[in-house]
Amino acid sequence: MSTQTTEPPRGTAAGPAGPAPAARARRTGRAKDWARRAPLLPALVFLVIVTQLPFVATVVISFTRWNALAPDNRGFAAFDNYRAVFTDPAMRSSVGTTVLLTVTVVLVSLLLGLGLALLLDRSFRGRGIVRTLLITPFLVVPVASALLWKHALYNASYGLLNGVLTWIWRLFGSDSPPQPDWMTDSPLAAVEVSLIWQWTPFMMLILLAGLQSRAGDAIEAARMDGASAFDVFRYLTLPHLRRYLELAALLGTVYVVQNFDAVFTITSGGLGTANLPYTIYQTFYQAHDYGRASAQGVVVVLCSLVVATFALRTVSSLLREEVTR
């Protein structure tokens, strides 16, 4: 490093005898290391305090018997809370709901987002306007969008969906249109559709960025060589998009797993739609069972860590290509 010579030596205070040159170099090296790390520290320290310490506290509380409604009956519970969590059918069903909800929403919105990104990658009249229209669902405040779906669209007696059915049936002179009650007939699908509507634009934005960063000349060359549109997609576009698909799926999963707004607003967790965040919220905020809520939290964190480790490996393939810098 050329800068090493211009840096004032840190070991001069040791007097005329001074430390051995090697030791001095090591010390300035260490000082430089710290100078490089220093800008990182505020963010790291802040995150450790605000996010990691509460988790430690959660682990501690998970081993205590503590219900805020019975403050006198507090003590060490060993694994009682965990036993309760694993034998609780509601907890088990909310694990299933969370997995199903997340996988469905992420996969469907990823596929729809890919389709829309491919459509928007071509030039046509009004492309900018169409992109703006498509982005909007992602920009509506999630609670607002949940309220919108629940009251203005799904509602059985005056929602838009059944209103349109009535209108179509009247066109054909019928007075008995089907009026399904969307939220009671298929509650989980009702939540999923509203979330897919909200997250498809997010996926589309990421994949569109991927499509537009493709090298145009390679595609042109492939076309000249007689490759079909499908071949170009399969052998050029898709491999290039891989990192973007991974990234979109990863970020989408991080946010959809933690979804609270849609479940809370549309079904209030009823009819098998309670996911993990909602179940923990209920145990803590409504049942006031602090011990059990914490045990649920710890179980969720452990499961997330397994998934996160797997996902981070995937992201590390994203990172590795940049390491050459």
């Binding site: 605000v50 509460p54 988790f55 959660t58 669902p137 607002a144 309220l147 509602n155 005056y158 990234l247």
Partner: protein, 282 residues
Amino acid sequence: MSVMTTAPRRRRTGGALGLVAWLCGIAFFLPVAWMVLTSFHSETDAATNPPSVGAGLSLHGYREFFGGGGGISPWPPLINSLTASVVSTLLVLALAVPAAYALAIKPVRKWSDVLFFFLSTKMLPLVAGLLPVYLVAQNAGMLDSIWLLVLLYTSMNLPIAVWMMRSFLAEVPVEMLEAASIDGAGLTTTLTRIVAPVAMPGIAATALISFIFSWNELLFARVLTGIVAGTAPVFLTGLVTSQGLFLAKVCAAATVISLPVIVAGFAAQDKLVQGLSLGAVK
């Protein structure tokens, strides 16, 4: 296209696919359009079956919302949301920019581990740390205070902000930094003259995304705030008292509360794309 015969065919399919794209765009926008239209209807026109698309427009919903119909003014929640989002976004930038600079321009040893740590905090469900935060806040007398939300929103958005900022700062060419150091530029000059101009759009995108996620947050705000510090999303859930009776008012409120994010998002579409694709964009 050099192959003459394929050119017209491709243009024609392009036209058909353009139409499909338009239809998709309209389909995705339709619920939002319906929300806005309903917000301008009278309560009776808002809740009809079949829908009364052509009914006369009315400002009733907005008057009810801003006039505090039902006894609660919307201004304190809106101001709370603005405070929490703006202050936490500023804090996020103050913490994330130096960290990202350290990770991008002068890679620290084991820098990818540090990045992993940042992202892993984002993967742990926030709800699992909610109870201790609640208990500490209760003992410290910080429940129903907007500053607690400011702290939590900062920690919520910091990991993604570090990731985004790092990928933007990594675009500053090393040669430019070396040239600056040869010319004797100090750290301050390097930052303001070389790094800032390249990174400014990235900082803007990071700020926008941090603002959106803070503005939208519901769970923490619902559990940790009450009458004084309630935010706009909490206010919105409180508006639905008896189901659908005030559909126009609810739609007006949803429109007003979504408007800042929608306007900012429209204005910065390209930045949003760049920001969301993190380091994947070259």
